[in-house]
Amino acid sequence: MKDRKPKNVFKEGAISSEFIGQSIAKHQSKTSIGAHNIFLGQVRADVIDGKTVSAIEYTAYEEMANAKFHEIRESAFEKFNLTCMHIYHSLGTVKIGEICLFVFVSSPSRKDVFKALEFIVEAIKADVPVYGKEIFEDASHQWKVNS
């Protein structure tokens, strides 16, 4: 398990549906896989004090965040029977309706991917130093807080 090196999880801007589609297609050659599970985080047009969010601008402590993403990967591989796992998170501006987080897990069987995906997404929200600045339509902003 220790041969996996930390990867750069971050992508500049939104994660496109083409990229997600291509990621799925790349797994057709891995024929031991029987189940995939995918989480897509989408930027929501929250209304706060009458102002509507138009985008989120993401920044991160990138070195520490990539190390944390790596720890999460390693512990998910230890806990669940996974064939592979991919995590991508946006940096910079992502508009409402666009995808900012893409987590993709694959396994021989469905039960592992259901449990693994929830574990990974919750760990990302809790442990990874990423910051979202919610930009309103009038160009004012506030710092997002995860619930």
Binding site: Y61, M64, A126, D127, V128, P129, Y131, N146
Partner: protein, 77 residues
């Protein structure tokens, strides 16, 4: 020792500083924070954790590495 202090999210905004080098002669993280609160009084009532060399540490920890980051609550995803 010279410390490279990094500020993230809301903290980079209120200090108007993303990173700076500070000369520190004390020993613990809490002493370092006293120094930073003197420089940026606005930090004192903000919620954040401290990372030393990319690991979250308590305020009693001795400052032994050069990279210190002030991390407000995370909001990824």
């Amino acid at each position: 020792m010279k410390l490279n202090i990094k500020y993230f999210g809301l903290l980079a905004e209120v200090t108007q500083c993303a990173a700076e080098v500070i000369d520190f002669s004390g020993s613990s993280v809490s002493e370092l924070l006293e120094l930073l609160f003197e420089k940026y009084p606005i930090l004192e009532n903000k919620d954040f954790q401290v990372a030393q060399n990319q690991k979250i540490v308590s305020i009693d920890t001795l400052v032994s590495e050069h990279e210190i980051a002030l991390l407000p609550p995370f909001s990824g995803g």
